[in-house]
Amino acid sequence: MARNGRRLAAGGRIDRVKRLTFHFDNKRFVGHPGDTLASALLANGVHLVGRSFKYHRPRGIVSAGVEEPNALVTLRTGGRQEPNCPAPVTELYDGLVSRSQNAWPSPRFDAMGINDFFKPFLSAGFYYKTFMGPTRKSWMFFEPFIRKAAGLGAAASKADPDRYEKVNAFCDVLIVGGGPAGLAAAVAAGRAGARVVLAEQDFELGGWLLREPIGSPADHWLGAARAELAQLPNVRVMTRTTVFGAYDGGTFGLLERVADHKKVPDEGEPRQRYVVLRATRAVIAAGAVERPIPFGDNDRPGVMLAGAVRAYLNRHAVVAGRRMVLFTCHDGAYPTAFDMKAAGAAVTIVDARKGPTPAMKAAGELGLEVIAGHALAETRGKTRVRAAVVAPFDIDKETCDSGWREIPCDLVAVSGGYDPQVHLATQRGGRKAVWAPALGCLVPGGEPDVQIHAGAMKGTFGTPECIAEGFAAGRRAAGEVGAKGAAGDLPVPDGLPASGIAEGFKPVFDVKPPAALRERKRFIDQQNDVSASDVKLAHREGYVSVEHLKRYTTLGMATEQGKLANVVALAQMAKLRGLDISAVGTTGYRPPYTPVPLGAIAAHESDHHVRPVRVTPFHDWNEKIGTVFLDTGLWKRPWYYPMKGETINEAYRREAKAVRETVGMVDVSTLGKIDVQGPDAPEFLNRVYVNGWKSLEVGKARYGIMLREDGYVFDDGTTTRISEHHYFMTTTTAEAAKVMMHLEWLLQAAWPELKVHVTSVTDQWGGVAIAGPNARALLKDAIPSIDFSNEAFPFMGYRTGTAEGGIPVRVHRISFSGELAYEVFCGAGHGSALCDLLFEKGKRHGLVLYGVEALGTLRIEKGHVAGGEIDGRTTLEDLGLEKMASKAKPYIGSVLRQRPDMTSPARQRFVGLKAVDPNTRIRPGMILQPHKGPHQGHGLGHVTATTYSPVLGQSIGLGLVAAGLARKGEIVDAVYPLKGDVTAVEIVSPHFFDPEGKRQNG
């Protein structure tokens, strides 16, 4: 019997030599390597580990696996704090700190335990019913209290100091599960020479074989299989790794708990690793979990699954109780009784079947009391089971009769059969699990795409059969991926555990108490406090579909995800509806199989690596100068260049004013740049732009507009003819990638006959715009190899040359600001050198640096359209650009743009807006409404861009308004409901400054 509490003196898969100290609820305990937190707590006599979600009932350890509904604890502290960790799968390490959840001040004396007395009022649908109708508004008041009272653990409030990472992996054959079927599959596929990944969620291979005693035939077989796999270099064994999701095309999501079993990860080591694995074939051997049977107060600490009792006994050498009552309905649970008796416990077996069965006979031979044809009707005790009430049982009606008696005990082991873990087989939809009457469980409805199923997950519960099935699956998988080696045979020795599920197995899904006993809660889902009475209530209120049942009662939610509860609940619903289980159906499963921390999904793409940053060739130079950057998409763009003590408003107004008076330089490298080359390039441009391109001369640029196929404006920009077959296209910053994709699609799919190549050269070229009256003089100084006279280099001209210092440049005479302006492009690697040169040369020409804020001011004053106006909903007519469209040729969007509604003069069209009171401000996004009301709905249009105009000395804007310039001179209200602002604005021409273009052409 146990020495030092509940730990056996010998046996188990623990290292007794090493001692691990850990804390639970501030108490210090000792365990050993090979322990889980749950086994170590049980070894120290701790059964009560928390309080339940809703009723705050005392709860203990139920299982020995991921299906654990109750023993969820918070691990570690500070930034490493992690809530809702199942103690049975938490590997023990020295220095582990854990706390119970949902209990204050402790699980033993929990203040919220009072909820249990109000359970008649806290049934399924409590929130919906309470906070509907007149009480609806009270939800806002009660919500914080309810959330505090109900729930699981709390997330860390400090930043997690650990590293997480994501890895891509590939293999021929993925094997999910390291139990007998998975091990056999890995041996077969490994011998055949396939690249194999074997993933096992436990820290040790073996699955349920680990529940067999050391030295047993199962233990010997396991040792041999592990040894063989260790010799196969093509087999990668990943323990502590859960395959949590199956996705399209053989892609699986894996979570590897790299350092969860350490107090602190080693230097550089990630705590967890998210593996995206692509497998050609996958053998799913995910095993099964044991199914509980609901009976009165079946949630009392000390009530455990029979297999778990055996796992703690044989794997961890922990005797979970001294007097055990085993309640079951099949022979597979009996080995728990046999092993517990051998360990010195007093054991009584209560079997719902009348028998006799081979296991009953074996139990009798061992001198165990078997109470056949009885059920465990309820438990007694407070924070630990003290006695089991046993009553005669009608297995068909699932009701108890009178004649009950009480059996003293400190442990109840229960087993209602096994539920195959069908999650991965059903996650991708379309193939729900199906009811297998002979096995009394759900099994996969088929093998989707790359999957091959084997072992207990498809209802094969005998170990010899699992091995044979797994081996065949591994061999088949290897063959299907083209592995040529011989898998040979895998002998199955005698003495391996047989299936306890015999022909004619009748599962028990409920134990209604005898009439003489008061009905007590019979929990189905202990994690969510859902009981048989909740299923009954849902049925009574019409929530009879399993999907509605789940959502109405919260059954199968949270970490447990229906592993223990689903089948019992749907069986009870089937009975209430008078239907067969197969007719009721089941809910589908979605990833993840077990919880995956978001940190692992984000992995190294977090903090300042959350998204890549894109910088222009002038970024480092701008940073040195002291630019304030603006994030536009992924780009860092110079926003403004503040002088000492200057605000953004002061800075951009100064910059914009200086451009009009002397000369300014702005980084325009973020414009999309596309190299268009080929003999058919003119024809190609003619088709994608609304205007004509065939007549464009070499050395000239042209402004162009593209439409989408539906006739709406897509993008604009200038394209320059560099040589006969070579064009340089620019796009807006925002649409650069979309335009590139559009052009590539057209060339590959629509017009493959055109000899044209398009290549993104956005990263090849850096560009600055030099704008202002002194632009010409500055560039003459900096690039003496080019003649900048108006005659030699007119507006929309293009020249190449070499700037001082030997920097090759391309110069386009283009203006976005309305000023005399040039865009100078250089190789991106020459960016800083060009900036140095222009900055130095610019000093005597009054050069100012300006950012996108001032750039916006200048373009609004000039009335150029940009992203606010080309918003995917505007047409050429809306933007006043219809005259650009050629009538002599077809182009993308040319037909659909002529639909009557697209050309209607009543549409919202491009206008300028001027505040009537020059001292008031127009805000971006304001809604334009009739002057003095009514201010209703979407109004007449909206403001697309605003600025303070240094030239005009007041706030101006651009907008889209119904009937556009037909309203010129009309006063409308620009309203901003969020702030209550109403500003009277006059509709004017959008061309506020130099409408004739004298400055840019001069």
Partner: protein, 206 residues
């Protein structure tokens, strides 16, 4: 002519990073002084262009779909059915030479030398590092020396080239990969790669 400034100078700090060890598991460096030029052929001229490139550069013809061909410092990577990326020392004046070699009726030539930063990842942990980012099967049986793959690194299109092995008793020991990064993203992506690389003993070379 003025030199091309490195896009990685600010992030690749020479020295040892990560946990201490006798030998580095990884060596990171920037491949400098390379010119990159794209040659786009037409359906009916692609075979001729492939042969001509091989002749001019001294490489075998780039006939594979996932395999680059190399001769010394010159590499031809067939990035599409009719597109080749040619990488050679800047002193080759590749763009001028190839522009002169191909009339537009045969192929068009695009200069991309400034647009890519080439990050070299070498050493026993090189595969481990690349697998943290690229969804490419790097097993030597699938991705042998000379292979290349276009893939996404943190959502950005990059090109990976398995240049050679550094030696050792097996190909698993020390592969050398060149990762072609778009220049505008290069510093940010390299910063991220370095962060991940620091879990192994890592040498950054100038």
């Amino acid at each position: 002519m003025v030199e091309i400034a490195s896009a990685l100078a600010g992030v690749l700090k020479p020295g040892r990073h990560g946990p201490p060890a006798k030998t580095a598991g990884l060596t990171l460096s920037e491949v400098k002084g390379r010119d990159v030029v794209q040659v786009g052929a037409w359906r009916e001229t692609v075979d001729r262009v492939r042969e001509k490139l091989a002749y001019d550069l001294g490489t075998p013809p780039a006939t594979g779909t996932r395999a680059a061909v190399t001769a010394g410092e010159r590499t031809v990577i067939p990035v599409g059915p009719d597109k080749f990326l040619v990488v050679a020392p800047a002193s080759d004046n590749l763009f001028q030479k190839l522009s002169a070699a191909f009339p537009a009726s045969e192929a068009v030539v695009t200069e991309l030398g400034h647009s890519r930063a080439i990050l070299r990842i070498a050493g026993p942990n090189a595969r481990d590092l690349v697998a943290r980012y690229l969804a490419v099967d790097l097993d030597p049986s699938v991705f042998p020396v000379g292979s290349f793959a276009a893939s996404g690194l943190h959502g950005v299109g990059v090109l990976l080239h398995y240049v050679r092995d550094m030696g050792g008793s097996s190909v698993f020991e020390a592969p050398v990969f060149d990762l072609y990064l778009p220049r505008s993203f290069a510093a940010s992506l390299t910063e991220g790669v370095l962060h991940v690389a620091e879990q192994w003993p890592c040498q950054v070379e100038a």
